[in-house]
Symmetry: C2
Subunit: 305 residues, 2 copies
Amino acid sequence: MLSRKDIQQTARRIDEHINRTPILTSNTLNKMCGLELFFKCENFQKSGSFKYRGVSNAVLVLDQEERKKGMITHSSGNHGAALAAFASSMDLPVFVVVPASASQVKRDAIQRYDAEIIDCGNSLESREIAVRECLAKKDMVFIPPYDHIDIVAGQGTVGLEVINEIKDLDEFWLPVGGGGLASGNVLSVGNTVQVVGAEPELARDAYDSLRLGARQPQMEPKTCADGLRTALGSLNFDILRDYKLPIVLVGEDEILEAQSILMSCLKILVEPSAAVPFAAILKNGPKNVSSKKVALLISGGNLAI
Amino acid sequence: MLSRKDIQQTARRIDEHINRTPILTSNTLNKMCGLELFFKCENFQKSGSFKYRGVSNAVLVLDQEERKKGMITHSSGNHGAALAAFASSMDLPVFVVVPASASQVKRDAIQRYDAEIIDCGNSLESREIAVRECLAKKDMVFIPPYDHIDIVAGQGTVGLEVINEIKDLDEFWLPVGGGGLASGNVLSVGNTVQVVGAEPELARDAYDSLRLGARQPQMEPKTCADGLRTALGSLNFDILRDYKLPIVLVGEDEILEAQSILMSCLKILVEPSAAVPFAAILKNGPKNVSSKKVALLISGGNLAI
């Protein structure tokens, strides 16, 4: 399994390709929560989300011959946009299988970087069939969205930046969808800070999987947090189970309320998925320990405006 | 008149009170405009706009006795919120005269910092009467919104940060309303970079004033850029006339289009006034000189979401 050292090496590999994203703070939000909060703004990452980290690592570990074949993935959003953006920066061809349910803004983000979009149905099966059909026609490299060691390593690099910049950090809160982000950061910084997950009540497969000790299927999630509708990956489940990741569940109204507060106080665009950890903090109620230092990952900013 | 040295001293005076705001870049926007663009994000300044700089300077130059009397100003928005936020951080009482036409989000921003709001009519006269009535009842210090040397000096500090961070910058584009921001930065960095103003067609008093060589009245401006409806100040007019500030006018649709592009590409909240310089850049059309380095001031991010 990946060690912190491996992920430090990943950080060096992708360093010149990614943005060093800012960490924002707000006295108003600190007072509201009774905590010292630090918002790591991956909405300012290239392509608008942390997904760019994993994608750039997964492509950079390939040799030149493989890269030239081109890349393919399936994605309803940020992973597809990230792969399209990175491949375009390297002048590599890229195909993204996009389900009909993908939001227009995310479809636009994928198209902006000259990816070829292949439409498919909404089920995971329909996506996978479309990918297989493409691969049968043309030899390309499949870049999986989250359940892969190179993706996990890339996502884990964000935690290294967080603990380097914030001394004596107590907790690092992250949204949990497919689990690539959470498991990467458990592996990179989970020994130094307490990593905590947050998940929509309406897409609670990770919460249930960890509670029951066995991976549970995702039940057609209807949450507004479109980035977190994916099922927990199998590799990621093992990592999060071993860490005993605590997960806080939040409702839809809580997510939208948190999103609105973050946007008006921090002056940043925050997609619903990215507001889920703050929703969880708000749900826990104000603390009286303002000395406690808590970082939150703002995972992305791709939303219609 | 203020020299760069004076404004450097101002920067040291306010340094510990303000945020060092980030400068964002975007490959997508660079390609769109054929320029190397740098967005100085004063929407991340305390209270959500650059106005915090001028206000903190205007209060910090006062002695303790004066400060304790409390502060008063009139403002439909960001200046009032900035004064309320700064006074609240220093535990000083503050009163803000707010015209009926002020947007709810800006009224909320003023109220958030415990300022006492005094309602008045929409005309400048009605605002000034309300201030005089308050001053007749209670001895306080009036902190003017833009036409004052301490305010101008504070606003000019942002340009110093911009030229320190961006080597070989060619131009610095700013929105022009009352002219405090533009004149402060003409004085602080106008000798090093070309300062350029941008103004809504529907609030073009600065453009007309500079073209005709005499200050023109502001004609009940209806622009969506609510921060730029104020009339050009008399002190500021003199400074901008001496510099021969070029000003580009933009229409309402151009402002809204620019605001939308900035928000979706930079992932930040941008109020309409803050999008005016980018609207002017877009209006000028794409350049073929991508080596030209242009900074734009994002003046504020207080808008309803």
